[in-house]
């Protein structure tokens, strides 16, 4: 296989998708510009801040530093794939209940990171929550409310 463009098939928020992408297209641009999913945010552009986090086969992934061709044969979840305005995902509801957001720019990335954490570790300790979220930056909340929101989800 030798391509400057490539046909890919994948699952996006539960829907089977076929697309043709230029091989140098970044996943974040494909999601935001081609698919119109603007909940995925670009900020640091170097895998430090976590604003562009999506889940690829359940794993937290920096869409700013992933090629669109890399999601071929995978399942991708963006923030738009969680809950609905009437029935929020439990993680979204917990962030709302604990005032764990202010400007909201970092929130989609935080919520997807927390989804990934609870998937592999349903009962994280406070230290494990802090350690897991060290790759998500928030410049508003001071993190305490976010950590409290996650702790409220631990049975």
């Amino acid at each position: 296989m030798t391509q400057a463009i490539l046909d890919i098939t994948f699952i996006l928020n539960g829907e089977a998708i076929e697309a043709t992408v230029a091989t140098h297209t970044l996943l974040i641009d494909f999601l935001r510009d081609t698919r119109g999913l603007r909940g995925t945010k670009r900020s640091c552009d170097m895998q430090v801040c976590g604003a562009c986090t999506v889940l690829v086969d359940g794993k937290p992934t920096s869409s700013c530093t992933t090629l669109a061709v890399d999601i071929d044969d995978t399942a991708v979840t963006t923030i738009e794939g969680l809950g609905s305005a009437d029935a929020l995902d439990p993680v979204q509801q917990a962030f709302l209940d604990h005032n764990a957001l202010q400007c909201g720019f970092c929130t989609p990335g935080f919520i997807l990171s927390v989804k990934a954490l609870l998937q592999i570790n349903p009962k994280p300790t406070r230290d494990e929550i802090v350690q897991h979220l060290n790759g998500n930056l928030c410049r508003c909340t001071g993190y305490h409310k976010i950590i409290e929101a996650v702790e409220s989800l631990v049975p």
Binding site: M1, Q3, T23, T65
Partner: protein
């Protein structure tokens, strides 16, 4: 920031990947996690006409015991190494380190082989693997060869890997060796890391993330080989201080050279202490 256009290759077998690297030479780069390569391409520091994606070559992701060694495929991701029971049983220090590198997104994508081949001076694994006596297996059209991990990285972003060579796997000998690995992290980067393994008659003490590549501490190793229980306050501190003073450490944006020497000494003493605890 966007990488410039390139032709994308997705080989399914090692031999196909090797053939592609041989055909395109300097115009091609092996591509795995992309945690370093894509950043360099986005920032314009690197440009390639061809990327050879190694993620779909199953052989490169295998983690297994092979006789007296642990074999870790070059494309094994940090998160896979951290959660692998064979690794945590055989070389717990490697599993622990791979579970702490950077953040969960880098750990889901980044590979141990990419880390070694990119040779970022602040990378942790080269130091640990050097002290463990690991060997790296490389293949090219000229055949396979093995290189000691301690001699693989030769400078900042420089290794002995030829442009057409592919890192296949890392082999770590499993002779019972307690090892301590300690690091000091500033922001999201390690600014000093050290690995120490001490048995009667043989000691391996390496420091990394302070100079352009990991370095063995010869006087410290010689002292510990003859006196494994050397007191921290006497001859040992003196040997570590002399070894660190001999390293070529420069000022950079994270720390002055003097401060970094101080951190290097501190982290080496911690690694020796942690190795002694592991033995006890």
């Amino acid at each position: 920031m966007f990488p410039s256009p390139f032709t994308y290759h997705r080989p399914a077998k090692v031999e196909d990947a090797v053939a592609l690297l041989a055909r395109y030479g300097d115009d091609a780069a092996p591509y795995a996690g992309g945690t370093e390569l894509l950043l360099a391409m986005k920032m314009g520091f690197a440009q390639y006409d061809h990327l050879v994606d190694l993620k779909r070559v199953p052989e490169l992701r295998v983690i297994a015991r092979q006789g007296d060694a642990l074999s870790v495929g070059a494309s094994a991701r940090y998160a896979e190494i951290a959660s692998n029971e064979i690794v945590s049983g055989a070389v717990p220090a490697l599993a622990k380190l791979c579970g702490e590198i950077a953040n969960p997104r880098v750990r889901s994508a980044g590979t141990i082989g990419g880390n070694l081949c990119f040779a970022e001076p602040r990378a942790d694994p080269p130091t640990l693997l050097a002290a463990l006596g690991a060997e790296l297996c490389l293949v090219s059209p000229r055949g396979e060869r093995r290189v000691p991990a301690g001699g693989f990285v030769t400078g900042a972003l420089e290794t002995v890997r030829a442009q057409d060579e592919l890192l296949l796997r890392i082999e770590i000998p499993l002779h019972a060796r307690a090892i301590g690995y300690e690091r000091i992290v500033f922001g999201h980067r390690t600014i000093a890391g050290a690995a120490a393994t001490v048995t009667p008659g043989a000691a391996h003490v390496w420091v990394g993330c302070v100079a352009s590549c990991p370095s063995p501490l010869a006087k410290t190793e010689a002292l510990l080989a003859t006196d494994p229980d050397a007191s921290e306050d006497g001859a040992l501190r003196k040997a570590v201080t002399q070894d660190i003073a001999a390293l070529d450490i420069a000022d950079d944006e994270d720390a002055s050279a003097d401060y970094r020497r101080h951190l290097a000494k501190t982290v080496v003493m911690r690694a020796i202490a942690s190795c002694r605890e592991a033995v006890a």
